[in-house]
Amino acid sequence: MSTQQTDKSSYPRAEVSPPSGQLFPHKHLLGIWNLDPTAIKHVLDVADHYVEQNRQRQKSSPKCAGLTQINLFFENSTRTLMSFEIAGKRLGMEVTSMSTGTSSIKKGETLLDTAATLNAMHPDVLVMRHADSGAVKLLSEKMDCAVINAGDGRAEHPTQALLDALTIRRRKGKLHGQTIVISGDVAHSRVARSNIYLLNAMGARVRLVAPPTLLPKDVDRLGVEVSHRMDEGLEGADVVMMLRLQQERMQGAFLPSLREYYRFWGLTRDTLKYAKEDVLVMHPGPMNRGVEIASDVADDLDRSAIEEQVEMGVAVRMACLDILTRGLRGEDAA
């Protein structure tokens, strides 16, 4: 499905042209919370184009040739890091990745020292992931180049929300009016937060389903419905997004056992019956099969969009890199 076919009335709040004429009037992509529907729609439209390009034999274009992209990951990641690397390379960028875990912190270098060092290397885009909420924003204040947040603490993971939105838009035709369930460890999830902001901005109806210990305080004030039961929560759902149970972030007693979690909050064929017949099942990966999602649901070709999400990930990241370097390349920002 191409963008042109998308019903324009799906974006009632996106109809207004921004006064600046710029569809994406931001230097960085730090989060979804400060993006308006116009900007979100623009990223998705550009990404649609890259989906088509990525399906050709010739996947690369020299659009960003000569530009330097640094991927700086303070938290372990393979999927997101690789997705950003491929995205940069397909646009012709020089891509360097550094996955440090927490090693530079152990060496005593502060984040701002790291920023100064990297800045002196004159990158054109910096992609960063960090275990602390707000860390990417702090670093961006010291960088001359565009900064993309590849996940900070529990705060935001904007490219994940954008790729999820692209997946839904291509499968369902629109975001507006869709009932979208986000289920799992919302408390520790940056994916959940970015998705809540994005889906709300685009007029979707968002419902969270999780045990009480995995929901952050006052989350209902973010404009979502909240349920603790899978049957009640999945009622009438167009899309179910499962979150990874982040066992590494589990401090203290959130859950008694994974076995019990699966019984009450795992997504199985049985629980999925409460959702709409054509429900779309999504997961940001990597999945814990048999913990938050049953294998046969994850592998259901008709309903599962999990592999498609990975494909959309590359396209969305290409779109973000493209949009944020337009000024540098002398292209009109719109």
């Binding site: 602390d132 707000g134 937060r193 305080k217």
Partner: protein, 413 residues
Amino acid sequence: MISAFTNARLIDPASGLDTKGTLIVNNGKIADFGPDIEVPDDATVTDCKGRVLCPGLIDMRAHSVDADAALAGGITTVILQPDQTTMIDSDPVVERIRRRAEDTHTVNVYPMGAATRGMEGKELAEIGQMKASGAVAFTDCRKPVSDSQVMRRLMEYASYFGAVIVQFPQDKGLANGGIAHEGEIATRLGFAGIPAMAEVIQIERDARLSEMTGTPIHFALISSREGVEAIRAAKARGVKVTCSTAPHYLHLNDNAMEGYRTFAKVSPPLRSEEDRLALIAGLADGTIDTLVSDHDPKSEDVKRLPFGQAAAGIVGFETLLALALAPVHAGKVDLVTTLKALTATPADLLGVPGGKLEAGAPADLVIFDPDKPWRIDREAFRASARNTPFDTLPVQGQVWQTIVGGKTLFSGE
């Protein structure tokens, strides 16, 4: 040497005196004061031009002496917390701090000692030794004494010496890992939260231990509505509890953290608007006994970090009075009540000199214009660091002179 401060608005919060008049200082002590005082011929006269003259402020909670900043804030007595580079948990350290303060002839300094050895909450510190050397109270500072048995023994033991115990009311379990008030803002920003109930549970447990042991207890830095209610209820039951808060809790709510501003990171955390309003009401009705600055200079090295890693703390000396006066100007708290929480009440609680206008008392005084508007400017701070969320904030009420032992040690505009 005799000095006379004429044409002053004399306020003595302890007695409720608020009158126009003159105050005479002789040999470092208050000699006389009142509306109809004759100025001796040999006196050095200072015309206060209608400004308030009251006892110098006694700041019950500071993490650094920072004398110049204290004097600029109208503070004549600083109560130093035990979390120094060399922890105040033994009598030689107490003595050294007392001696250094006496030798430098500046602001008065009285240390609080650690309540438990190494502030680890396990064994009692040498409370008797430290008290004999001049420690005025005992606290583990930002660490609550969590073990109920240790706390009970601490209170029982302290009562023999008449030592004041100060508890930081935060239940360790509920606060574990938290960096912000548990609520909508923390959820949006992606922070682990500390619920207000962490404060309540600690207050209620220790109020019960106070009933059990008969030992009074002081809670430092109340931050929540529920905390105020818990104190109010304990007081109504006749339990000997007192508490403090700091001006930043009266001024800011958790919205101040927006944009991950680490200047708004304090411990306990800034809470909701509802909490802020309840604290002001608690100050007005006397539930909150004292106002403290919680002065804590922190360098950029420990503040310019991701919010979760950044140090908590605000520099408070130079903004203490002006910020404390804001609820007065807003008509929520009266001037004498506010000044009492900054002078007479902390003096009585800790048994330190000052805090009152009375003949024979040390002439530790502050003269300030309660209405004068100015703008907080962190670049103009005398403090050893400038970590404040209040930069450029317009406020009312400015210190004109700070007098310690009859000597004017700070003089402003």
